[in-house]
Subunit: 360 residues, 2 copies
């Protein structure tokens, strides 16, 4: 990898070392309920078993695993949060079962292989942060051949949306450029330096910031104007890093609303707890981050707004091409390209558009 490991770790782990940030995750009721139910409604996966919690943070998943009857839980955490996890384990009287190990999972050695790997590794739009790489590494080194993954499956979804955000961002971009032109004038007048040669790079920088950066959104279900489509389906037991380095595909979506505006796409994910083929869950649990009125999550959805919006109506068909790659400068960030062709019910094809986005 071109990225220096020290630089990557220093940048990536800083927020997770704060209890404030862990608390945000621990206060996400949808997230918490899913993992809680997945564990306690499938106690047979934990009872008398060995468990590895990859990125234990506050230790919550390790503690639940122990409470569900695990014989031994290895709870690995890269940041100083490990110390708090250790205190929490002791305060909940589970120090005989849960062993907190401070270190990055890639560097840790366990005394045995485990029956279960549990981890909450999902970033925005599933793969941001690239933490699933670490889970794969843990699985390949420490999961027994008969072992199960918690969660066992993950999917990425996209759907056409309407939203005022694209218009807003375009207007922000235009204001920024207006201000720039004033700045160029003044710098010439007052300070004798002609900055106009920087107008192009400045506008590119601002376009990227305002028009090509995906945004955290808490979409209302009514903002979804067509059928949602799966762009990636991951089996956590078998997926390799190569499988997730790039996500690419063509999907279609039908507009389900009459006479509306296609303003862009929304992206989200779900994960499932199904155990494994040979050792299935008794109760399958799903954690979804889809647009929802009452069950929204701290992940929200990623918004990829276009400008200008396009008129569409019920029955129009979208042919969407999608590709996502890791950014070269920081492998934990993503670059996404959307293409879209609209086939109207009349049979007309509306010229396709194409747009690039960064998830930062």
């Amino acid at each position: 990898s071109v990225v220096d490991k020290g630089v990557d770790f220093a940048q990536y782990f800083c927020t997770y070392a704060f209890l404030y940030h862990q608390k945000e995750m621990l206060s996400d009721r949808v997230r918490m309920d899913s993992y809680f139910n997945a564990i306690f409604q499938n106690k047979h996966h934990f009872h008398e078993k060995t468990v590895l919690d990859v990125g234990t943070g506050s230790g919550i998943l390790a503690i639940w695993s122990a409470q569900a009857g695990a014989r031994k839980v290895y709870a690995v955490e890269a940041t100083k949060m490990a110390e708090h996890a250790r205190a929490l384990v002791i305060a909940n009287n589970l120090q005989d079962v849960v062993e907190v190990i401070e270190g990055s999972i890639e560097d840790v050695t366990l005394p045995e292989k485990v029956d279960v790997i549990i981890s909450e590794w999902m970033g925005y739009f599933l793969l941001r942060e690239s933490m699933f790489d670490s889970v794969i590494c843990a699985r390949d080194r420490w999961l027994k051949p008969t072992g199960v993954m918690y969660p066992s499956h993950a999917r990425m979804w996209i759907a056409p949306i309407r939203s005022g955000l694209g218009d807003q961002k375009m207007s922000d971009y235009r204001s920024a450029m207006d201000e720039w032109y004033g700045f160029v004038d003044e710098t010439k007048t007052y300070y004798g330096v002609d900055m106009s040669v920087l107008t192009k790079p400045f506008s590119e920088e601002q376009r990227k910031y305002y028009l090509q950066t995906s945004m955290w959104n808490n979409l209302h279900p009514h903002q979804v104007i067509g059928t949602a489509a799966v762009v990636k389906d991951i089996d956590c037991l078998t997926a390799t890093v190569d499988d997730i380095l790039e996500v690419r595909g063509s999907v279609s979506s039908s507009i389900t609303l009459e006479n509306t505006r296609l303003c862009g796409f929304g992206g989200w994910f779900d994960v499932h707890f199904r155990g494994s083929k040979d050792d299935p869950a008794q109760q399958q649990i799903e954690l979804t981050t889809a647009p929802s009125i009452n069950d929204s999550t701290h992940w929200g959805q990623q918004g990829f707004p276009f400008h200008p919006p396009v008129r569409v109506t019920e029955g129009d068909n979208l042919n969407i091409s999608f590709s996502m790659n890791r950014s070269k400068e920081n492998h934990r960030l993503m670059e996404i390209e959307f293409g879209c062709e609209i086939t109207q019910c009349s049979g007309n094809m509306v010229p396709c558009f194409r747009n690039k986005f960064f998830i930062e």
Copy 2:
């Protein structure tokens, strides 16, 4: 140093690579006027001379130096901004005089020693970012014995202030703790885990964030309630890194307002362009970031609020002890300790208070 250079550079330089950020500095009229006047009202320092611009950013100071008649200007910049600086130099037809070099000043080799080192190295409260270290390094390697520094002097100031910020922050802190107690209750009730052992570390984290982090402020001069005092005076021609590693001292301040509240301290800096003893400026120029109605800067002032405020009145005398050190985790950030004793006009001594702050 305990800090890895790659990590430090990756974290430190990221913002400076954006034109948006350079533009913010270039739009600071007080900053721009000072450097502009310092250069163009002291052309004898530049005419036919060699100049080194440490951290040229957009290239502005190098371009002015060339316009003021320099024979040769070396403009060194660590980030990709160097490319924009190069374009700007060419657009202003100064490519025969200004040579832009992309690299960190510590690693760069110049073909000759220079007559002038110019740099805009000042961070919040002067020393945040620790960039003056790089200027010292450049000076010791590349300045002729007869050379001059632009700026030539720098000072740090503190003064007692009144402000609503301390009360606000205390109330924010209390809300955060109230919310935490609710969170602990719910986590126990719904998820069977007792988090109360984390209350102490959480409250410490939050105290640090809300009560011990200095804040950017744009103070109104009326908020300054006593005489300002210099806590550090730097001669840029002779100061060593050791001289600025730590700033420590005792100063006094008299309250100049009747019956008011001492809510904390404000901190700011000024720099001066005086040339050198043997080659003084024709026009001495000052750049101050002191509280001002019309001439505020992007640096503003640092606010160090205490809680609760203390009643003081005209003639009360403050004995302030001050010490500032670099933070161990990141040498570009600072930790500051304030102590204060109040001698009232009556002769009464009000028990001193002590407070630690982080400049982040």
